[in-house]
């Protein structure tokens, strides 16, 4: 059976193709304003990557902030369920999963079958999401991709007190004026964000193994801060963490088919 899983996220739309439970293709595009087009574009890219046609797909499963725009989906899976199932798919020993995407930070406690038992989501605030790092990258005038590696070069611990991305930016501007080097500012930003995510994880209980999915898992600076804050040596990250929820959505459909 061939299943497509599509995650129409706030910033990127990701599609995966699963044949008999194995990933055979992936595609990603910017979501932009036209979510329906982004869904089509990412699915086309995944189909091309898998070397199959749209007619070969038996069923489509959707998730993400824009899942209502995935018109061909026979199933819509909420993000919590999708990420829980994804963590279980990649790492069956997982008991906690965190998904840090552009718009949301989430933490879910899961059981041995990948069922969500408890969850926490950041409330009306960018400070626990990828958008926060993007805004801060603009403030210190570096590329987003440079932020993580820069943070790893610092061993300073500069507290950022603001709980809000807007006020945090003011703090960053203050650090720039105080001639703080960008590496230290970057680490302060990642520390601040990691502490928000860790507080969510603590709310549901820190149960190893901990899995991280979502685009921010590609940021080594953030992952380093997260491990330090949690006091653990390893966070399990799948090969393409940004596709995590799309995979989870497809797996849920496969199990229910």
């Amino acid at each position: 059976m061939i299943i497509a899983g599509i995650d129409c996220g706030a910033k990127n739309t990701k599609s995966v193709i699963l044949r008999d439970g194995k990933i055979i293709g992936k595609g990603m595009t910017l979501t932009g304003f036209d979510q329906a087009s982004a869904v089509k574009e990412s699915l086309d890219a995944a189909l091309k990557d898998a070397g199959i046609d749209a007619k070969d797909v038996d069923k489509i499963s959707g998730t993400g902030a824009g899942m209502e725009e995935i018109k061909d989906a026979s199933m819509k899976v909420n993000e919590i369920r999708a990420m829980a199932k994804a963590a279980n798919y990649f790492f069956p020993s997982a008991r906690t999963v965190t998904d840090v995407g552009a718009e949301m930070g989430r933490a879910v406690k899961i059981d041995e079958r990948g069922k969500a038992i408890d969850f926490a989501i950041n409330e009306k605030c960018a400070a626990g999401a990828g958008a926060f790092i993007e805004a801060m990258a603009r403030a210190i005038e570096v590329e987003l991709e440079e932020m993580g590696p820069m943070a790893l070069q610092s061993d300073k611990s500069i507290p950022m007190n603001a709980q809000c991305a807007i006020f945090a930016e003011s703090e960053v501007v203050g650090l720039i004026h105080a001639k703080t080097v960008k590496e230290d500012i970057s680490k302060a930003i990642h520390d601040a964000m990691a502490s928000r995510i860790v507080s969510m994880i603590r709310r549901i209980g820190v149960n190893e193994d901990i899995v991280m999915i979502g685009g921010v898992a590609l940021n080594p600076g953030f992952v380093g801060c997260l491990k330090r804050e949690l006091g653990i040596d390893r966070v399990y990250i799948p090969a393409d963490p940004a596709f995590g929820a799309a995979v989870g959505a497809a797996v849920v459909l496969k199990e229910e088919a």
């Binding site: 909420n78 969500a116 038992i117 408890d118 989501i121 409330e123 009306k124």
Partner: protein
């Protein structure tokens, strides 16, 4: 096809009429030579009734909730309070109330009616200050009496020195009677006080009995409707009409139980909530109902005014039995009223979150709830204090718990789509699905 039969409450129209008349009475009090009195929903309004049957009340919390229900009106009131200099992180009922005075507009039409005196109690950090500022805003000459009821938890939670703590509250009530005579120039009538005291006990006792009936499956009442009914105990517990109305309501709900009438025709799962809801968005309860979920109530709707006793051994809440007979002396009435109100379930968590967790767990188990939805209510510091600890305690006792953030009286702090998404996820975890379309 619906699983259960449902039908509207017969007393619904009467409830609306009673509430309307209550606010009209306050507004028109002076035309009848009467007195306007204001205070908290927890105020011991019975004590003021010894001044005469023409003492008319408005209580701040239900008034604030009525403002919040009308979102554009509330936005005006909140802006006025903030422009005046009151911080936006204060109690949102209080800000709506103050804004209403500043704008000089009543949520029930016309100008804001000025009170003759304020008679309230102080347990959370807002109540006393609420009326201190309100009295100043109302031209600064409204007399205010505040009874300090923050004397520790009721047995079995804190049995130590209870007699002394009770006496401390009862003595303040006694003192307040002389004060009221002085500021109104009226002679106090003890018989009227005893009658009002008894009405207060009837109202809060019967309300608990009504809530007990919601243990039935299917639940005869849903929480959205409960909000429209529990309100009478918050408006004025000592009003005889309200005691009679609750007797009628009790009879009707008993009849619904007997005939298997459900509040939600497709009841599949039962939840309980906590704290005041976001009043401008009560549709979240209808949203739950589309998935077959009935909210059976909460410690808030059951125990804000309803009187219960917690049985630690059985982990159960039972309506507190009424005293054997009416009080016969002023001193006895003051003691009876103080003792009755100090046992209020919603007073107890001010002393330790564990007390509230125990009572909530008792509701979850005995009212057969599948899940608990906690409103992290930014608008009420008093009822939200310790709520995160309640969450942990309830989880440890094996309950499924969802939290959402919001504000009972300030729509700017509530996110409807995000809350609905949370509900969807939670309902899925309970094995329920939203119908397509």
């Amino acid at each position: 096809m619906a699983k259960y039969t449902t039908e509207p409450l017969r007393c619904w129209a009467k409830a609306k009429e009673l509430r309307k008349r209550f606010y009209e009475d306050f507004k028109g009090a002076h035309e009848k030579g009467g007195i306007r009195c204001v205070g908290s929903a927890w105020a011991l309004d019975a004590v003021t009734m010894g001044l005469g049957r023409d003492v008319y009340w408005v209580t701040g919390e239900p008034y604030g909730a009525s403002c919040a229900f009308d979102r554009p009106l509330s936005a005006d009131f909140l802006a006025a309070a903030e422009n005046f200099g009151f911080s936006r992180d204060l109690c949102s009922y209080m800000r709506n109330y103050w804004g209403s005075i500043i704008v000089n507009k009543s949520a029930f039409g016309g100008a804001f009616p000025k009170a003759d005196f304020a008679y309230t109690q102080h347990i959370c950090c807002s109540h006393g200050k609420w009326y201190q500022n309100a009295c100043e805003l109302e031209a600064g000459d409204v007399p205010l009496y505040v009874i300090d009821v923050g004397v520790g938890a009721y047995p079995p939670f804190q049995p130590e020195m209870y007699e002394h703590r009770l006496r401390y509250v009862a003595d303040q009530i006694l003192d307040s009677i002389e004060w009221m005579e002085k500021i109104t120039g009226r002679t106090y009538n003890d018989e009227l006080f005893f009658e009002a005291c008894w009405n207060d006990i009837r109202v809060t006792h019967i309300w608990a009995k009504i809530c007990m009936l919601n243990r039935t499956v299917p639940a005869p009442l849903d929480e959205k409707s409960i909000y429209s009914l529990y309100v009478f105990a918050t408006l004025q517990k000592s009003r005889g009409q309200f005691a009679e109305f609750y007797e009628e309501l009790l009879e009707e709900v008993e009849d619904r139980v007997k005939r298997g009438i459900a509040a939600v025709a497709n009841e599949q799962a039962r939840v309980m909530t906590d704290t005041q809801p976001p009043w401008g968005f009560l549709k979240i309860y209808r949203y739950l109902e589309t998935c077959g979920v009935v909210s059976i109530g909460s410690l808030y709707t059951f125990g804000l005014e309803g009187m219960w006793l917690y049985d630690e051994e059985k982990n159960d809440l039972r309506p507190r039995p009424m005293p054997p007979e009416k009080p016969r002396s002023r001193e006895e009435a003051c003691m009876m009223l103080a003792d009755w109100h100090l046992s209020k379930p919603q007073y107890q968590h001010f002393y330790h979150p564990e007390y509230k967790t125990k009572m909530m767990d008792a509701i979850a188990k005995n009212w057969r709830c599948d899940g608990i939805i906690l409103h992290y209510n930014r608008g009420c510091e008093g009822l939200s204090v310790g709520i995160a600890e309640n969450r942990l305690g309830l989880l440890q006792r094996g309950n499924k718990v969802l939290t959402y953030e919001g504000n009972m009286g300030d729509e700017t702090e509530f996110d409807l789509p995000a809350t609905e998404t949370r509900f969807d996820i939670f309902l899925e975890s309970l094995g329920l699905k939203k119908p397509e379309g």
